[in-house]
Symmetry: C2
Subunit: 232 residues, 2 copies
């Protein structure tokens, strides 16, 4: 029956998962550069060549870890968003920000794999883009719903975006339907501001400078929300 073949595939899936789990643990300790296929194999009681039955190369293992990471972060973001009342747009944004920061601070090496220098090859493969969009999709929904509820009031202190970026805005609008180019531009800036702040903290740029990081982060994200036009 199919059951038998399914049994084989099941143990394969289980071993694949065990490999990524161990690899993720090693990654958390040693960083991407220190992740060794042989060490993972040793811990599994396998010989190193056996790993290649499951991942054709070390880079593919890292890519799998990247995809898992994006999904884990995306899930954390989704859960954080879900804990806040739907019409508290600023609260939802702040919850998302905190989720990203806490996820990153708890696993700096994994975060570095996602948003630091991409280790495998120069550009991460296409496969990582879709799961990477999971978190930003939540953010887009928050902004879009705020727009739809007419609760978004961007302060009129910024210039209009140049027409050149209109095609890009069109692409982003699939995530934030109903938003003007100006709102889209502010949203992208807020999103990069979030990750800029988290990266600076995780990668040590705040050493000897910002010590009260949670408080400053909270304030900075509140300011980003205001500039975006989310209610105070």
């Amino acid at each position: 029956m199919n059951a038998s073949r399914t049994a084989r595939e099941r143990v394969r899936a289980e071993l694949t998962r065990e490999i990524t789990d161990i690899a993720r643990r090693h990654l958390a300790v040693d960083g991407a550069a220190g992740l060794s296929l042989r060490a993972v194999a040793r811990e599994m009681g396998m010989v190193s060549s056996a790993i290649y039955r499951y991942f054709p190369s070390r880079d593919d293992l890292l890519t799998a870890l990247i995809i898992d990471g994006y999904n884990a972060l995306g899930e954390a973001v989704e859960k954080a968003d879900a804990t806040v009342p739907r019409d508290d747009f600023t609260g939802r944004w702040l919850a998302v920000c905190r989720a990203v920061r806490e996820w990153a601070v708890a696993r700096p090496h994994e975060y570095a794999l996602l948003y630091g220098s991409p280790v495998p090859g120069y550009r991460a493969p296409e496969d990582t883009i879709a799961p990477g969009a999971r978190g930003v999709a939540v953010f887009g929904r928050i902004v879009a719903e705020a727009v739809a509820a007419e609760r978004l009031a961007p302060p009129a202190v910024l210039p209009e975006p140049p027409p050149a970026i209109a095609p890009d805005a069109e692409v982003v609008r699939t995530l934030i339907p109903g938003a003007s180019d100006d709102v889209i531009s502010r949203a992208v800036t807020a999103w990069t501001g979030l990750f800029g702040m988290v990266s600076f903290e995780v990668f040590g740029q705040f050493t000897n400078t910002i010590d009260h990081r949670a408080e400053f982060f909270e304030h900075a994200m509140t300011c980003l929300a205001r500039v975006l036009g989310l209610p105070a």
Copy 2:
């Protein structure tokens, strides 16, 4: 005489410099993970063990490259700032932003070494902090001079920073004398926003999303300047 000993030290300094030059070229091509002491030694016509007379370990070579990188970026920022009239504060800020972006886009792997995941050890050593402050010093000067010239008018749409960050603001004030906690908070946010934007672009987060990157960058940095309070 000392001349002879100086001659010896001079050839040593020259070889040290040649090593870092070759290493920097390899870094630009293969990234930090692919930098090999043996490959550098081969290109120099030396045997690999000879390199250890100049750098006690691969991590020390990388640290030297980090320091050189911070200095190069800092110099690029200083030069960019110097090309703009002293009282055109917004122009100086934009010049600094463009310098950072162009430097990063031209050498993504080197930029990743500075602002992506720190490769050697978990935290870059103390030695890298001082040269790393060179760029931010320029930025601090721009803001401080704008404050002194009473040309800084931060739009009153943001909440005041919480008292908890006052001690941190005190530290940053050494870079931006005369600035209020609010201005300092905005300045830090603008600075992290700059690097968040550059990192997103260099690390490929804008793939399939933002294509007109120079134009969007220009606009976003103009907006950050406005939020900071620099004149329109």
